[in-house]
Symmetry: C2
């Protein structure tokens, strides 16, 4: 009985995960090293994954798209159960927290946008009052710095 037939359909190799998720194998190594995903090894020392990893990677990618760092994702993943496969409720909780974070970031961006013409365009440069010029103003609660978004053209 081969290793692969023993674990049919429930086990993924690194290359298969990579192709399926649209990331490079090296990225999966990297995520594992950072503690974002887990794997075990087969007899030949090759990585094997549970299907659950696919969702994790998708969530990582989704989070990055909205400007959430890998470290933040890692923290969020700590809320997932360790012993069992996360349920839909687990994932929903996680994403609803991020929704709120996003709400805050959107509101903040809107505020900055509204100040933009006033502060850059006018002559006053009111550094003390304007959020655009306030160096201590750290995007909401987390001190994340500016939201890095993908280039949209």
């Amino acid at each position: 009985m081969t290793e692969s037939s023993k674990t049919t359909e429930a086990t993924w190799s690194v290359g298969r995960v990579a192709k399926r998720c649209g990331v490079k194998v090296s990225t999966l190594h990297f995520y594992e090293q950072k503690g974002l995903i887990k794997s075990w090894r087969n007899d030949g020392n090759q990585r094997r994954y549970k299907p659950e990893v696919l969702r994790r990677i998708s969530v990582i990618k989704a989070a990055q798209k909205v400007g959430i760092s890998l470290e933040e994702v890692k923290q969020a993943f700590l809320s997932l159960p360790d012993s069992r496969t996360p349920t839909m409720e687990d994932w929903q909780l996680l994403s609803s927290n991020w929704q709120q974070l996003l709400d805050a970031r959107i509101a903040y961006l809107q505020k900055l946008r509204d100040y933009m013409t006033g502060c850059i365009g006018c002559g006053c440069l009111s550094m003390t009052k304007c959020p655009l010029y306030n160096p201590e103003d750290k995007l909401g609660a987390q001190g994340t710095g500016p939201v890095i978004l993908e280039q949209i053209d």
Copy 2:
């Protein structure tokens, strides 16, 4: 007649600019090296700045806050006049362009936020339709590479 009395109020040293703008001296060196700001040298080889530099730095900081990179700022600065000090209109044009960019980014973030619970929380992971899972998504429109959908779990 000293160098400083000759140029009083119209000339800034690097330390004064740094303190006024809330950045480090090394940051100003860095910005200069990147072509974002300019200076000339006094007899002792020390940097001197026109007051205009304060606005440039403020604009750089404001831009960074909304997620605009130094490279993008540099490009935007190319639209400023080289021979004369930029007027309010020059700055207003620059900032109104960024306002539009911000509008797009905000709209994009809102879209992603709205998909967040659906895509992360639900069981389907519809990778072909959802912008959260679409790796090539530059705000819709373009057809992207195929992401093969198989069932997860």
